[in-house]
């Protein structure tokens, strides 16, 4: 992840654990183990996951 503090987060109360973001991630930075959705350090903040999420559960948490 870039050095600033921006990061992507899934709103657990909205997330359907469907894996739409996981399969759409171009750098495989999202891991879904049943109901736990985690972003790893490979994330480039391309935000594709924000768009693909059918219910809008993923948000960019701003650090700057």
């Amino acid at each position: 992840m870039p050095k600033d503090l921006d990061e992507l987060q899934a709103d657990v109360t909205r997330c359907m654990h469907c894996g739409a973001c996981v399969g759409s991630c171009p750098v495989n930075a999202i891991y879904l183990n049943e109901v736990v959705l985690e972003f790893n350090d490979d994330c480039t903040l391309c935000k594709r996951c924000i768009k693909v999420c059918p219910v809008g559960a993923i948000k960019l948490i701003g650090g700057r």
């Binding site: 359907m16 654990h17 469907c18 894996g19 739409a20 996981v22 399969g23 759409s24 171009p26 495989n28 891991y31 879904l32 183990n33 049943e34 594709r48 924000i50 768009k51 693909v52 999420c53 059918p54 219910v55 809008g56 559960a57 993923i58 948000k59």
Partner: protein
């Protein structure tokens, strides 16, 4: 000495069919599933056709069948319907199934054939020796363990990790991804004898479906091309808007929410490696027009299982040995997938006005078979200029 000849990751239709036919052909098979129940949560519109079931050895039980329909109803943006009988309607129309039972039925068939099965067991990493896959590290009920296998099968769906870990390129571009949302709506007054497909700007780059589960309940869903999405949560918003506008659906209330994504890409270059094979959604074997994947998953799974049976007898799980699967599934569906991907690339560019013209023409001229060719021929009689764009197909 490997613990198993074959470890299948994922117990959906692709995984269970692979496990069943591998076990049937003499392989020692383990299938693992990360969820605690097979078939749940559902991530599917649940429409299939009857035509291919016999050829892959599936006999549906009564619980797997929610509703039998007469055919498909294609609806243009201006509300004109074109009806297709079941025979003509392609791979996704005929029966609306209950995946929660259907997936269990296929897993049962795999177990009956001799496959072992573990739930709540996730693959977390592939074991490798050089480029060769030698097994899989799993987390099972909190315990981590290594399972050695002759071949690992990635049947882990749209979000497939196994293929990526093995270095197989399954990455999709935004125009080859459809984002989906669905309600199982009850208390509605749809036409329960037809699977309905609504085209046009109600679902940019995709369509809205109404697949009847019974007289007053249906799967009402939407798929939209990722490259056409703008704001977070657009997919659900488009579906909600559609439901509110439709008098038949407005009073409906949800029994279930389903979300997910589907690949609508051209066939990928490679689905095998040394000790590794991908099948189903993980191998991107989805029809790029309908987004349907069950029939292809089952067909490819059967081929994979049979090839793995041979590989066990020959004690050879090399890429060269698994090449028989690569060729086998491509012989059955590659041309069709490629043509439908090209057609999809055109369809997503059409305006509402063009969809209206197409549906009107199909009603006037009729079409004997639901193939791209037959439809284009029909349209050509009235709108030759429209068909010019599709010259590649004729």
């Amino acid at each position: 000495m490997p613990d198993f000849d074959v470890v299948v990751v994922g117990a959906g239709p692709a995984g269970s069919m692979t496990a069943k036919f591998a076990a049937k052909n003499g392989a020692k098979v383990l299938m693992i599933e990360k969820r605690q129940e097979i078939g749940s949560p559902v991530r599917c519109g649940e429409g299939i056709s009857r035509s291919w079931l016999d050829s892959v050895g599936i006999t549906l039980d009564s619980k797997s069948i929610a509703r039998q329909v007469k055919g498909a109803k294609i609806v243009s943006p201006n509300g004109t319907s074109f009806y297709l009988s079941e025979k003509m309607a392609g791979n996704e129309v005929g029966i609306v199934i209950d995946r929660i039972f259907f997936d269990k039925l296929l897993a049962h068939d795999a177990v009956k054939a001799g496959a072992d099965l573990m739930l709540k067991t996730s693959a977390v990493k592939l074991l490798k020796s050089g480029n060769k896959i030698t097994g899989v590290k799993v987390k099972s009920f909190g315990e981590t363990k290594d399972i050695k296998a002759g071949c690992v099968v990635g049947a882990d769906g749209y979000e497939s990790q196994v293929g990526r870990w093995a270095g197989i390129n399954t990455i999709l571009t935004p125009r080859d991804i459809t984002s989906c949302f669905q309600y199982r709506l009850t208390n509605i007054s749809h036409d329960a004898d037809y699977c309905e497909f609504i085209l046009g700007s109600a679902a940019p780059g995709g369509y809205i479906w109404i697949f009847p589960k019974n007289e007053d309940t249906a799967n009402v869903g939407i798929g939209m091309q990722l490259s056409k999405l703008k704001d977070p949560g657009d997919v659900k918003k488009y579906l909600d808007r559609f439901i509110q506008k439709d008098a038949r659906l407005r009073k409906g209330r949800p029994l279930e929410l389903v979300s997910g994504a589907v690949s609508i890409c051209a066939p990928i270059d490679r689905t095998i490696g040394d000790g590794i094979l991908l099948v189903g959604d993980a191998a991107r074997q989805i029809d790029p027009i309908t987004g349907g994947g069950i029939s292809n998953s089952c067909k490819a799974g059967k081929i994979a299982g049979e090839v793995l049976g041979k590989a066990v007898k020959e004690k050879d799980f090399s890429e060269k040995s698994l090449q028989r699967y690569e060729k086998g599934w491509r012989d059955v569906m590659e041309n069709h997938l490629y043509r439908n991907w090209m057609a999809k690339e055109k369809l997503v560019t059409l305006s509402d006005e063009t969809f209206n013209k197409i549906i009107t023409t199909l009603n006037e001229v009729g079409v004997e078979k639901m193939s791209t060719f037959a439809i284009l021929k029909a349209i050509e009689t009235k709108y030759p200029e429209l068909v010019k764009e599709f010259q590649d197909f004729l």
